[in-house]
Subunit: 265 residues, 2 copies
């Protein structure tokens, strides 16, 4: 396995750029998609399980020798794609305090908007917090929803924080980013259900349709009114009075699993 | 209003210590309880609404002049408890990137374990992530649950991050920290329901009891086995296969609102 000991190594410099959230120099937004860095044993294992091979795998040279999980992970990747790396360089790459000494560079699948949106899906309108976007994806995947449509203004789905809180949901879902949700609404053939606090009926008031597109809005402002006007149904979760509304990912969990409760089996 | 322009001001030094998560010098763990710093307009407003007066209120002197919300907040507090503060000092206090220039010092209510736990409640076993603890409290408050029992090893409930994600839930709940949950189980007179992945039945399989104590466990390890053994019922949330389990706060939201759905009205 090739070893990297200099910051000036071109492969290392590329991964460092990507890990800091910068685009790859070769990422032109074209049909070949772009690249992302996955950090940590769990995310990398999950990628291998669901998506196949990374384009490149970097391992902390110390951990490679002394940590069985890391060594095992390295054995699962084609040796020609693996690089070992000085611990201090690996540390500079890491986005977390206690990194595990493993990074994959992967090609992010590029998704074009389907002609018909006739499946269960989540639609995220300007969800800004990376932890919320990641948890929303994780929650949707757990509810067996495999399609997510994210508007401009959402946290970048393949950024380190979103990947971390997504816990691998990214690799089993089709994630569409920078979607004009009003445009997408023209393609949806199942009810578009918005969560809203006003002019809405209780989630539990009448049966939910078997298939639905769930629209969730910005943490502070909710759903853009022009978009909300296009929803077929507005629901709220009946909660205690005089307390703050639910976190958006928790609210989504309650809706998606109520939907699942009504229509599974 | 008294103005602070020096880092050496004793009142300022005290707030700075507290804001960094250190205990007050006068906080001896005795019956008078301890102190916490609330940061931001929303949390401070919420304290005024639910809990009354702070012990001390600090305002950025610039914001006091130029921001209506901050000025209005200052008018809601007894002027003898208010201090204006140089912007640079206020910035050092802040735990967030874009502080709003408002901090309250408040007395944290000290709670002793009730002789009988016969109400709806959440029990948190070593939930480490501050965002999770805060979101759990926010979710419980929204579900009209007013009692939380936190084991040793949970993130500190009155730390800045937990307060921030709690969004004011702290002020409408009785939060018991450092609780020996096995000891508390001796006092519970309603079913103790644990969320668990193994040896559990579906949340939806049989009706939930009208009142329940909900036990939630550590993000990675789940509930301590010795504690889990004491639960009256173990439930799981039926989810898609081959994906990561739900985030603990989302899982709690699904359970608590299913409980609420079955028993409200």
């Amino acid at each position: 396995m090739k070893h990297i000991s200099s910051r000036d190594n071109p492969a290392y410099k590329r991964v460092l750029r990507l890990a800091c959230g910068k685009r790859d120099e070769t990422d032109d937004g074209g049909p070949s998609g772009h690249h992302a860095v996955l950090e940590g044993i769990h995310l990398c294992q999950s990628w291998l399980q669901h998506a196949g091979s990374p384009q490149l795998a970097l391992f902390d040279s110390d951990r490679l020798q002394h940590n069985d999980e890391v060594a095992k992970l390295a054995q699962s990747v084609d040796a020609r794609l693996c690089l070992s790396c000085e611990p201090r360089l690996m540390k500079s790459l890491s986005q977390v305090e206690h990194g595990q000494g493993v990074c994959f560079v992967v090609a992010v699948p590029l998704r074009s908007l389907p002609a018909r949106i006739d499946h269960n899906s989540i639609w995220l309108d300007r969800i800004q917090d990376p932890g919320n976007v990641g948890t929303l994806l994780r929650t949707a995947a757990a509810a067996d929803i495999r399609n997510a449509y994210l508007s401009q203004g959402c946290a970048s789905a393949w950024s380190p924080k979103v990947l971390r809180s997504g816990q691998g949901a990214h690799f089993v879902m089709s994630i569409h980013e920078h979607v004009d949700l009003r445009h997408a609404q023209e393609r949806v053939t199942v009810p578009l259900i918005a969560t809203a606090l006003e002019n809405a009926t209780s989630l539990y008031q009448s049966p939910l349709p078997p298939t639905a597109a769930w629209l969730l809005g910005n943490e502070g402002q909710g759903i853009d009114p022009a978009l909300l006007a296009l929803a077929d149904r507005r629901v709220f979760i009946p909660q205690a009075e005089n307390v703050e509304s639910l976190n958006v990912a928790v609210a989504a969990g309650i809706c998606l699993f109520e939907h699942r409760r009504q229509h599974t089996r």
